[in-house]
C-alpha cells in the first residue's frame, strides 16, 4: 500500500453526472437493496393471518366502497366500473405509497445512516422497489376479475405490470428530490401525505380517461396529469386491447418521469450529505 492511492473520503463524481452514477450505485448495491426490500415487505405483513393476501384484499375492499359511493352519487355505472376503480386504486396506490415511502426513507432509516455508510440513494430506491413488488403481488387479483367479466387474456395484459413500474418510476424522481429536504423539515412528509390524498381525486382513479374525454375541456386538462398514463394503460391491458391513448400523452408522462429523475438525483446528491446531519 502506498501513500499515493490515498483518496479524499466521500469524494464523488461531478454533480452533473448524478443521474447516471446514482443508477450505477443502485446496480452495485443490488444485493443490499434486495435484502432491504425483503425486510420491508416481511415487516409489513408480519403476524397477519392473511399475510400477503392483504396486498389485494385491501384494494378490493376499497374498490367495493368506491363502487357504492359512485353508485349512490351518479347511479347506474358501467358494469366494468368497479374493475376500473380497482385497477385505478392499485396503480395509484403504487405511486402514492412509493412517493410517501421514498420521501420519508432517510428519516425512517436514521439509525442505520448514523452507523454505516453506503450510498444513500439505496434508501429511497428500496422504498420504491418494495412498493413495486407488493403492487405486482396485488395485481394477481386481476385474473379472477378477467374471468368474471369474460375479458380476454391477451398479450396486452403485460401493460398492467408495465404500468406498475411506470407509476413507481414517476414517484422515484419526486421522492428522491424531497427525501433530503424531509430530513430538515418533516413538514414535507405531511404535505406529501395530503398531496397523495388530493391527487387521488385529481387522477383517474374513480373516473376514467374516456369519461374525461366526454367532458371536453376537462378531458383536455386531464392529459397533463402524468398519472393518467399508467392508470389508463393498465385499464386497457385489463380489457385486453392495445391502448387508445395518444402517443403524445404517453411521451408526456415518460418525459415527466425522466425530467423529475434528472432533477431529483441531482438534488439528492447535492443535499443528501448535509441533510443527514439534521437526523
Amino acid at each position: 500500500m502506498s501513500g499515493e492511492n490515498i483518496v479524499e473520503v466521500g469524494l464523488k463524481p461531478p454533480l452533473i453526472k448524478a443521474p447516471i452514477y446514482t443508477l450505477r450505485e443502485v446496480l452495485q448495491n443490488k444485493f443490499l437493496i434486495r435484502n432491504l426490500v425483503v425486510r420491508e415487505i416481511r415487516g409489513k405483513y408480519r403476524n397477519a393471518l392473511l399475510g400477503y393476501t392483504w396486498t389485494f384484499i385491501e384494494p378490493a375492499l376499497l374498490a367495493i366502497v368506491y363502487y357504492f359511493l359512485f353508485y349512490m352519487l351518479a347511479g347506474n355505472p358501467d358494469e366494468l366500473y368497479a374493475m376500473w376503480v380497482l385497477i385505478g386504486i392499485i396503480i395509484w396506490g403504487c405511486f402514492g405509497k412509493s412517493l410517501q415511502a421514498s420521501v420519508s426513507s432517510l428519516t425512517r432509516n436514521k439509525n442505520t445512516i448514523h452507523l454505516v455508510y453506503f450510498p444513500r440513494i439505496v434508501f429511497p430506491m428500496t422504498a420504491v422497489m418494495g412498493n413495486i413488488v407488493t403492487t405486482l403481488m396485488s395485481c394477481v387479483v386481476v385474473f379472477p376479475i378477467m374471468m368474471i367479466f369474460n375479458l380476454p387474456l391477451t398479450i396486452y395484459a403485460l401493460l398492467i405490470p408495465a404500468s406498475v413500474f411506470l407509476a413507481g418510476f414517476l414517484a422515484t424522481g419526486i421522492g428522491v428530490m424531497l427525501a433530503p429536504l424531509n430530513c430538515i423539515y418533516r413538514d414535507i412528509e405531511h404535505l406529501i401525505r395530503f398531496i397523495v390524498r388530493a391527487g387521488f381525486f385529481v387522477s383517474p382513479v374513480m373516473w376514467t380517461y374516456e369519461m374525461a374525454l366526454e367532458r371536453g375541456m376537462f378531458g383536455e386538462a386531464a392529459v397533463y396529469n402524468p398519472m393518467l398514463t399508467p392508470i389508463t394503460l393498465a385499464r386497457h391491458g385489463l380489457e385486453g386491447h392495445a391502448t387508445t391513448l395518444p402517443s403524445t400523452v404517453i411521451a408526456l408522462c415518460v418525459g415527466f418521469g425522466i425530467l423529475t429523475w434528472l432533477i431529483g438525483s441531482y438534488v439528492f446528491e447535492k443535499y443528501e450529505r448535509r441533510a443527514v446531519k439534521y437526523l
Binding site: 490515498i6 443490499l32 425483503v38 454505516v116 455508510y117
Partner: protein, 239 residues
C-alpha cells in the same frame, strides 16, 4: 518509513440545530448560535499497520471522528483522506429485522456492511458457527435474547476483511464466555487487518493493543502519545 493511510487535516464538523418557525421569528431579535460544533480542527495521521486508539469522555467527539473517516459525515472544514477499504464497526446489529430468521439477518447485516452475495455465501458457515446459535439460527430473531442478537451481529461484523478497520466500542456483549471469545476474535481481526482505529473506554485493552492513543476533549484532539501517556493525560484533563 510507513505510508500514511488515514490523514485528517483540520477537520471541523458542525451539527445544525433546527429551529421552529416560532423561534425563527423571535430569533431575529436574539443572536443565537444555531449549530453545535462536534469537532474543532482535528488533525491526525495514522500509518499503515498501526493500531490507533481514541479515548475521551462521552460526547467528546471520538465516535464522530470515526464517522468522518468512514464517510458518514463530510467535514465542514478541512479534509479527510483514506487509503483502501474502510469498515466501521459500530452499533452491532444495525438494521436487524425482528421478523426474519438468524440466517436471513446475517445476510442482511452482511450486505449492510458492504458485502456482496458471493462473499456472504462463502462466509455464512463460519459466521453461523461463531455465533453458537445452533438450531435457533432458523428462528425469527424476535425470539432471541439480547445476547444472542449481539452474538449474531458480532459474528457477521467480525467476518469482514477491510484495509482499515474502525471499531467503536463493540466489545463487552454477551455472557462472560462469549465476551472472552469475541475479544479474541476482535484481537485476531485487529492483527490481520493492516490498520485499526479503535474507540474504547476499557483502558486495559487500549494499553494492550494500541501503538498510539489520542485524547479527545470537547471536539479537540488534545494530545497523541503512547497509551500510558494518553491515559495519564485523560485523567488530568477530566479531573
Amino acid at each position: 518509513m510507513k505510508s500514511t493511510v488515514i490523514s485528517m487535516e483540520n477537520v471541523t464538523l458542525h451539527f445544525p440545530k433546527l429551529s421552529s418557525l416560532l423561534s425563527m421569528v423571535t430569533g431575529v431579535f436574539k443572536k443565537k448560535d444555531n449549530k453545535f460544533t462536534a469537532l474543532r480542527a482535528v488533525t491526525l495521521e495514522v500509518k499503515a499497520g498501526e493500531v490507533f486508539g481514541l479515548i475521551g469522555k462521552n460526547g467528546s467527539g471520538k465516535s464522530t471522528i470515526l464517522r468522518v473517516m468512514s464517510g458518514i459525515y463530510p467535514p465542514d472544514e478541512g479534509s479527510c483522506y483514506v487509503s483502501g477499504k474502510v469498515s466501521l464497526l459500530a452499533g452491532i446489529g444495525t438494521g436487524f429485522s425482528q421478523h426474519q430468521t438468524g440466517v436471513e439477518n446475517a445476510m442482511l447485516y452482511g450486505s449492510i456492511l458492504g458485502h456482496n452475495e458471493s462473499e456472504m455465501t462463502e462466509k455464512l458457515p463460519e459466521i453461523l458457527e461463531f455465533s453458537e446459535l445452533g438450531d435457533f439460527i432458523h428462528e425469527p430473531i424476535r425470539t432471541y435474547s439480547a445476547g444472542m442478537k449481539a452474538r449474531l451481529g458480532l459474528a457477521v461484523a467480525s467476518a469482514i476483511k477491510p484495509d482499515i478497520l474502525l471499531i467503536d466500542e463493540v466489545l463487552g456483549v454477551g455472557d462472560p464466555q462469549f465476551r472472552e471469545k469475541s475479544k479474541t476474535r476482535i484481537l485476531n481481526l485487529v492483527e490481520q487487518t493492516g490498520t485499526v482505529v479503535i474507540v474504547s473506554h476499557s483502558f486495559g485493552l487500549m494499553k494492550d493493543i494500541c501503538d498510539r492513543v489520542g485524547v479527545v476533549h470537547k471536539g479537540k484532539l488534545v494530545m497523541v502519545g503512547t497509551p500510558s501517556e494518553a491515559i495519564d493525560a485523560y485523567y488530568e484533563i477530566t479531573e
